[in-house]
Amino acid sequence: MNNLSRRKLIGTGLAATAGAAGLGVAARLAQKYGLVPPDHGGIFGLGETLTYASQRLLTSHSQAREFSPSQVSKPPLANEMAPLPDVFKRLQAGGFADWRLSIDGLVDRPASFSLAQLKSYPSRSHITMIQCEEGWSYIAEWIGVPLHHVLDAVGVQPHARYVVYFSIDKYWWDSIDMADAAHPQTFLAYGMNGDELPVGNGGPLRMRVPRQLGYKNVKFITHLTVTDSLKRFGKGLGSASPESGYAWYAGI
C-alpha cells in the first residue's frame, strides 16, 4: 500500500466516523426536541423525518393564512363519507343533546363535556382553507373553541407531548403534537359559515388543524387523550393514517 492510498483510507475512515457520529448526535437531538415523527421507521422514514423536523423548526409560531369573507367557497364541499354508525344516528335524532367529549390521559382533571358546555367557552372563528391531500380545497369560516382553551380547563401535565383524538367512527383517530394542539388556530369546531357545523363537514364536532391537510381534521370527535408517547395507540404510528399508508404529519 503506498502513501497516497493510505492517506486516502485514513481520511475516508475519519470522515465516515465523523459522519456517523454526527448523524447519531443529530438523531439524539431530534428525538430530544420532538422532531421525529411517530412513523419515522421504514423506507420513507428519512423523508418524513426531514419534512416534520424542518417544518416544526420553521413553523413553530406561524399562522395559517386567513381569508376575507368574500373568499368563502359557496357552497362548501362535503366530501364523500363512510356510512355513519348507528350510535351517531341515535345522537343525531336527539339533536346531539347527548353528544359528549371526554378528555383523559396526562391531565389533572379528566372531564366530559356536552356541546352546550363547549359552546359556553369563548367562541372563536377564522376563515381558512381546508386542503385535501388529493388536490381539491375550499375556504370556510370555522367557528369553535380553541383546543388549548379546553386543554387549559382540564390542566395538561408538563410532560405531555401529544393529543390523540378519536372519532365516533372508531376506525378514525389521529394525533397532533403540542405545537399544533396549543396553536391558537387549532379548534374543536362546532360551527361553519355562521351556522351549525353540517354533518357532511364533520358536525357536530370536528378537529380543525388549519396548518395541516384535510385528513388531520377528524370529524365527529368524542374523545381526547393527552399522552407523552404514541406507542400504545394502535400500531404505535401516531394515527390511523399511517396504518393505511398515509403520513402522520400532513403539513405538506
Binding site: F44, T59, A64, Q71, S73, M129, G135, P210
Partner: protein
C-alpha cells in the same frame, strides 16, 4: 504465452507506471464527466423518475386543475384530464374507480424531493466552486451572440449525428438547455411544490400569494413538471442520436468512446 501477453502489456504497463510514478499523468485519459457530476446525475435521474410516477399517481386522485385559491368538484376547472380517477368523488366519466395509491406516493414523492434537492444543492455548489459552471455550462465566449444561437439551432434541426468533438464538450444549445433546467425549471418546481404546503405557506405566505393562490400553484407545478418531462424526452432522444451506449457509459464510468485529443486527426 509470453509473446501473447506482451500484446496487452503496454496498457497495463502504462497504468501501473502512472500509479507508481506520480509524475506521469500524460498517459492517463481524463474522465469525460467528473465523479461528482456522474453520481449526482444518476441520483437525480432516480429521484426524478420516482417523483414523476408518484406525481402521476397523486394527480389521478383529482385530475382536475383550477386557477386561484380554491377548487373542487363543485367549481369550474381551468381544464381536466380525461382519465379515470382513484376517487369516486370525481366525475371522470368512467364507470370505475382506480385503486388509491396516494399514501405511498406522497411518502415517496417528498422523500425523493428531499434527496434530489440536497443532491442538486451539492451539484450547484460544486459547479460554482470548481469552474464546472464556467467551463462546461456557460456558453463559450465565441458563442455569446444571437448569431451563434441561430446557427446552433439551424445546425441542430438537421438532426445529424454530432461531430466526435462534441463527445468531449457540450454545444451551445445543450448548455442553454442545462442552464435552463438547473436554474429555472428546478427552482420553479420546488417553489410551486412548497407553495402547496399549508405549513410552509403559514410561515412564508408570499410563496403562494405571489403565484395567485394554492390551486394556481398546483396547476403551475403540473406545467413545470411537464416541461421537465419534455426536457427528459429530448435529452434521452439526443443521447440516442449521439450513440446511446458510448454516451451512457461516459456518464456511468467516466470513459468516453474516443480520446479527447487524438480524435480530430482520426476523423477529419
Amino acid at each position: 504465452m509470453a509473446e501473447l501477453e506482451s500484446f496487452g502489456a503496454p496498457l497495463a504497463a502504462s497504468a501501473s507506471a502512472s500509479a507508481s510514478a506520480s509524475s506521469a499523468p500524460a498517459t492517463t485519459i481524463p474522465s469525460r464527466h467528473a465523479l461528482l457530476v456522474r453520481v449526482t446525475h444518476w441520483i437525480t435521474t432516480l429521484c426524478f423518475l420516482a417523483l414523476l410516477v408518484t406525481g402521476v399517481e397523486i394527480v389521478i386522485s383529482h385530475p382536475r386543475f383550477y386557477w386561484g385559491e380554491t377548487g373542487n368538484v363543485l367549481t369550474t376547472p381551468l381544464f381536466k384530464l380525461h382519465i379515470p380517477s382513484s376517487r369516486a368523488l370525481v366525475p371522470s366519466g368512467y364507470g370505475y374507480v382506480l385503486p388509491d395509491q396516494n399514501g405511498w406516493s406522497r411518502y415517496l414523492h417528498f422523500q425523493s424531493a428531499w434527496i434530489v434537492v440536497l443532491t442538486g444543492l451539492l451539484y450547484v455548489l460544486y459547479a460554482f466552486f470548481t469552474g464546472h459552471l464556467r467551463k462546461n455550462l456557460l456558453p463559450t465566449k465565441s458563442d455569446r451572440s444571437l448569431r451563434a444561437f441561430w446557427n446552433a439551432i439551424a445546425k441542430n434541426l438537421r438532426f445529424r449525428r454530432p461531430p466526435a468533438a462534441e463527445a468531449w464538450s457540450y454545444n451551445l444549445l445543450q448548455r442553454l438547455a442545462y442552464l435552463f433546467v438547473i436554474f429555472v425549471l428546478f427552482p420553479l418546481v420546488i417553489w410551486t411544490g412548497l407553495a402547496m404546503s399549508p405549513a410552509f405557506v403559514s410561515e412564508f405566505p408570499v410563496a403562494v400569494n405571489s403565484l395567485g393562490g394554492q390551486q394556481s400553484a398546483r396547476t403551475l407545478h403540473f406545467f413545470v413538471s411537464l416541461a421537465l418531462v419534455l426536457f427528459l424526452l429530448v435529452h434521452v432522444g439526443m443521447v440516442f442520436l449521439a450513440g446511446f451506449w458510448s454516451r451512457t457509459r461516459a456518464m456511468i464510468t467516466g470513459r468516453a468512446a474516443t480520446t479527447p485529443f487524438a480524435l480530430k486527426k482520426e476523423h477529419p
